[in-house]
Amino acid sequence: MYRYDEFDASFVTQRTEQFKDQVRRRLAGELSEDEFKPLRLMNGLYLQLHAYMLRVAIPYGTLNGRQMRKLAHIARTYDKGYGHFTTRQNIQFNWPKLEDTPKILEELAEVEMHAIQTSGNCIRNVTADHFAGAAADEIADPRPYAEILRQWSSLHPEFSFLPRKFKIAITGAPHDRAAVQVHDIGLQLTRNEAGEIGFEVFVGGGLGRTPMIGRKVREFLPEEDLLAYSEAILRVYNRYGRRDNKYKARIKILVHETGLEDLKADIEAEFEKIRFGVLLLPEEEVRRIEAYFAPPPLEVRAETSAAVDARRKSDAAFAQFVAHNLNPHRVPGYTSVTLSMKPIGGIPGDASDAQMDVIADLAEQFGHDEIRISHEQNVILPHVKLDDLPALFDRLVAAGIAEGNAGLITDIIACPGMDYCALATARSIPVAQRISERFGTPERQAEIGELKIKISGCINACGHHHVGHIGILGLEKKGEEFYQVTLGGSANENASIGEIIGRGFSSEEVVDAIEKLVDTYLGLRQTNEETFLEAYRRVGEAPFKEALYGVDA
């Protein structure tokens, strides 16, 4: 994985020192909250309902055992024994004290981590496919490009005060697992006819109060133009993006209001001015960064494992785990394993300090010391020998992270919601927990098959509800929690925004409503292989609407 060079190291250290002094001045009364707030936000420190919250960047979701152990240590020492993995592949600590945060940042810097640009109107942590560097269907590892974008965007002087935040996602596989089409810039690695690597570029995707699918602005952007073209997009956005209305300030609104063709022309014109300048990406520099992400040496092994087959026959939980939590690896005999942070009835994305320590140990023992965080709030060991799965599974069972539910109905994305978040209008986590309990038996989950439920506790859509096969949005109505349901969303290469199906539901009603939708799907699917989303796209909303509201609805 990427190692800090001297510039990175001194930059992060300097920044930590700066923040330490800013906190000191705040506590001494030299800075007011109005003065301090933008400074703390630049370092990922929010004030939530109960306490401060520190959001730590996990660049493109990649970390190693030593870093995970440090996160465990921070959870144990400065927080309340747990952390929360987010839909931006970051981790949030919910209870740090202000006076401890400089020390936390110092500790993070020891393992090449920080909280820079996890907040504020800047280019945020670049996210990537969580199976990057391992997936069988991958064209190339997207992380070297994510790292190049990280270096370019870190404290970019021109883009530190954008109209609004800016999110970039990149995937190296044709099957998009990084939701690139709902990001401000989405990059899809591809090859041209000559076999050269480049990018399909999408601009103006996003969720929030105005969900939009990104529009394609380039079929093939050559590798060497990645930074110049990104800079051109950002310059156009920085110049023309709205600053008069926070809710209309994202680039998606600019795309919508300007029109794709005009905006494309603006971007191309800017690009032509700078394309052969300092931002031209030298081939040798790309290869140099790529070397940091060189895959571990994996010898080709048998494609199947007798140990796995034997255990599968005798252990239903293991069989379920193997059926759902493995992703095909490019090297025969290996697999990428999803460690579910979604125990039945548990809190999506939460991991205890002890669990984080176990994950670090397991990564070192079974996974070439590589760990990934997915935007679906799970943890991945990308390079595991098939033969090691039984032993790994036993350790996961002991740690309470062995649920074989990846991609199933209980693998729910949920934002922190009103249990923590100052912006929330309703709770998300308790709804996720109740749905998880309702559908939690292995048989029922397996019968239902792939179904992505995503829950947000406010219109800002951190829980990605717009792109849930079933999306749930928590609102407040007459002082009560109230949940709006959308159907048919998807965040993959065939991205779509879910449609509101009808009037919303009270907290008491919402889980029953979800069950009616699921039962309706089970009743109308043509085969067991037809997923909820496929069935919905085939039949439309009518049968689901009827199930929820009756024929006269």
């Binding site: 705040r26 506590l27 009364g29 007011s32 909250e33 004030l47 939530q48 309902l49 109960h50 306490a51 401060y52 309340k80 209870w95 004290k97 202000l98 006076e99 809190i347 009103m418 249990d419 923590y420 929330a424 709770r427 986590i429 308790p430 927990q433 407040e476 002082g479 009560e480 929690e481």
Partner: protein, 99 residues
């Protein structure tokens, strides 16, 4: 009927304006204000405390008395007064048991 609430600067903990303009950690110990003038006066006290680096984000919120106990009207404020509903062992609700 209102109480004045904020987060404490140092640790972010939820606090309410109590007797003698002290910031208290339990809503049950908060001072209740009735009438526009009383609330405005209390908010001014809060603003001064904010300036004095004690608390952050002062605002007023509606409460009722349920069997004599100060109870916030809004769910958000109920959760602030107790802690995450998902973690009964964390936040003020946990301290209440041991206190």
């Amino acid at each position: 009927m209102k109480v004045i609430t904020a987060n404490r600067l140092l640790d972010g903990d939820v606090v309410w304006l109590g007797a003698g303009n002290a910031w208290v950690e339990r809503i049950t110990m908060a001072e209740v204000f009735e009438g526009k003038d009383a609330v405005a006066g209390a908010l001014a006290t809060g603003a001064a405390a904010e300036k004095n680096q004690e608390v952050v984000g002062v605002y007023d919120t509606d409460v009722t008395l349920e069997n004599g106990v100060i109870t916030p009207k809004r769910l958000r404020e109920k959760i602030r007064a107790a802690g995450p509903t998902t973690h009964p062992n964390l936040g003020k609700q946990a301290q209440a048991v041991s206190a």
